[in-house]
Symmetry: C4
Subunit: 234 residues, 4 copies
């Protein structure tokens, strides 16, 4: 492991602990990974190890190329093939999977997370799509890898880029989010859950409420992202 | 009491305290028991004693055969006959009863907890059934024992084994869960409540949502249980 | 003040602090009183004093007979006349008023808290009624006293005794509960809120759900109350 | 900075920290300002600085007259022009903006916060209005300033004064509240969220519930506000 990967190891460990303290996961559910694009190695939480027993040394390196574990005796998270597909398809640095309550409820209900206002538009440029259900062949085959592929498909079908909408709900399963690094992906998982809480109640209290105009969504998204951003101190 | 029972006494006490700290019970509600299949003794929380006054020595031993208290001056939980019926019918090591908010709400509404996704399928292989209401004769007679019998009946009518679905909602009452030991039964009570929170909102936001396919439910259940499990480090 | 009243002063202070820590009140909302039936004095929280500045000495003695403050320079809670009417009509020792979220929501909606199961029946023998709205004359006159009178009226119209159902929801206002002493009244306020959380969701998810049979409600109520009770250690 | 402004700087800082600890904001969302009417300077939270790095010295002074920063290198909150419009139109001393969950959900749904009972009437004399959506011209132009103008418009259209109803929901965005000073504006944001939680559930459980009579609303509002108030110790 070079210095770059040591620092990634620390960051991925910290992002996993951040997730554990976020209220987004229960038990050993949930996992965070980060990638080193130079060595093409992903570091991810080991499978089924309680959060309070984790250390940076437990993070399992996996090759993006062939999915093989490199230099660790631990088994990586069972969702590893899903993470790998996302790193192959998206230019992101970190991926998070949770079963957070309200985002998962929308996934159970087969509903996208609608963009209903500026809190959403500050983070995601439009609705967060829900995938189609996997077929029996996809489940019986490389189930976790195919989960990654339907995420990529859902985003492509929605016509949005993975930078603009850094989250997808997997039908009957739960949310995956990503971002420039592992920490940012956790932040996206956190805001996704907050938005899902609001959208479920908005759907119940006003099913036919008017959607925000596209110019309002763009205004907020671009106020925080891109070259004309004017939020923050930099 | 032999060494085996001492260790069980400690485990049942700890599982009761775990339950007390879980947010699943209020006041003196809720109780956990564990069984020693060799001595055929169940240990259970005493009736109406506040959790902060409990110690391992307070756990009351009751004979599975005849329901009699063995070597204790304390009265066991008033739900004792329900626990006994479950130990007689199911090959389990621990039983938990709570009035946890959302699982109890489904029981009030007379609705089963639907399996809507993989979080559920990771723990229970299909819907968690709700019992029929007890008849006047059953309530006036051995009420608590009859509560156990309708739980066994509900599971049998649903056509599932107590290993596959380790929980039932008692109509107008609340959930009972079980597991290999007292701790596992508490974990099942915890996940049951989490699933109930999600199912209530899923029912409200999309009453006719498509159910997950049986092959997806089986995939997740068998990924964690049985001889082909591939979750965790063992 | 005799010793009896000193001890009551301490109990009423403690019950107010218990209420403050219960999550049932926000800001200076909510108040607890207790009564000494011998001296016919009620002790109640002063009006608008933050909970963290209260001490036993702040509890304001008020005459049940004529509503006058006895030996204190503080103004009693503005809800004092409501408490007095309840002590005149009911044989209770403590009264609590909160604006707790879900019980108040039912009061806003003009709906009673339905008895839907055994958690309710363990505490209240049937539905908790909601009052009629006060008339303009009642609001313009002795508003707080008239609030007490409509509570008494609602319970009488429901045909239940104040021992069996120790709570009423005041329409467009919020809950009042009572009990043998101030502490028991706070416990009733706490369980009332828990039941209201469940009933709101049960109403939403299954508006026409079957009610529990009267024999089940009586079984549970009488298992904990009255001469044939068999819950607890006594 | 004179002594008056130093004390304001401390108060605005404290109110921002109070907001951070209130559960009403996530991340760097939300901002509090206060005004010195003599110097015509507003002090406001800097843009995008995490709450745990704030100090009184970070509060940014902005001229009410022309919106220019006075004596600070920090960029003020991006919502600054909204705050300025409110200070120009309303005789208030503090303004708060949050994305608190339930008030924002009503804003997403395009619904006002209805006055359904006395908890509401104790603080706001009637419904809290929701604004119309901004036009494309308003969003493309001085977006944040125009947000302030539609708030003023919504209150005027509702026919209520900013003293009687010290809050407005901005459509597809979230709540703004105000008050005599920054602390009072935070308190209004807190109670607004509590009322929104209750109104969402009341709307769901009883969409056609009878509204409280105007004489009840006035009774409660005037019991706490104005020259005939009789709540508290003064």
């Amino acid at each position: 492991m070079g210095t770059g990967t040591d620092s990634l190891r620390e960051n991925v460990y910290r992002a996993n602990m951040e997730l554990a303290g976020s209220g987004l996961v229960t038990g050993t559910f949930g996992n965070v990974s980060g990638v080193d694009r130079e060595t093409r190695l992903m570091l991810i939480k080991p499978s089924g190890v309680p959060y309070d027993q984790l250390s940076p040394a437990h993070m399992v390196p996996v090759s993006i190329e062939n999915g093989e574990v490199v230099g660790s005796d631990l088994r990586p998270s069972s969702d590893t093939p899903t993470h790998l597909e996302l790193y192959r398809a998206f230019p992101c640095g970190g991926v998070v999977h949770t079963h957070s309550e309200h985002a998962t409820t929308l996934a159970h209900a087969g509903l996208p997370l609608r963009c209903m206002g500026t809190t959403h538009a500050d983070h995601f440029r439009g609705d967060v799509p829900v995938t189609r259900p996997l077929t029996e062949e996809e489940v019986d085959g490389d189930y976790e890898g195919n989960t990654g592929l339907v995420i990529v498909e859902a985003l492509r079908d929605a016509g949005v880029s993975p930078e603009e909408v850094a989250a997808v709900l997997v039908a009957h399963h739960g949310p995956f989010t990503w971002g420039p690094d592992a920490h940012a992906a956790v932040e996206n998982a956190r805001i996704l859950e907050y938005l899902a809480r609001m959208d479920i109640h908005a759907r119940l209290v006003a099913p036919d409420a008017r959607r925000p105009d596209a110019f309002l969504v763009d205004k907020h998204y671009l106020r925080k992202h891109g070259k004309n951003a004017y939020y923050g101190q930099s």
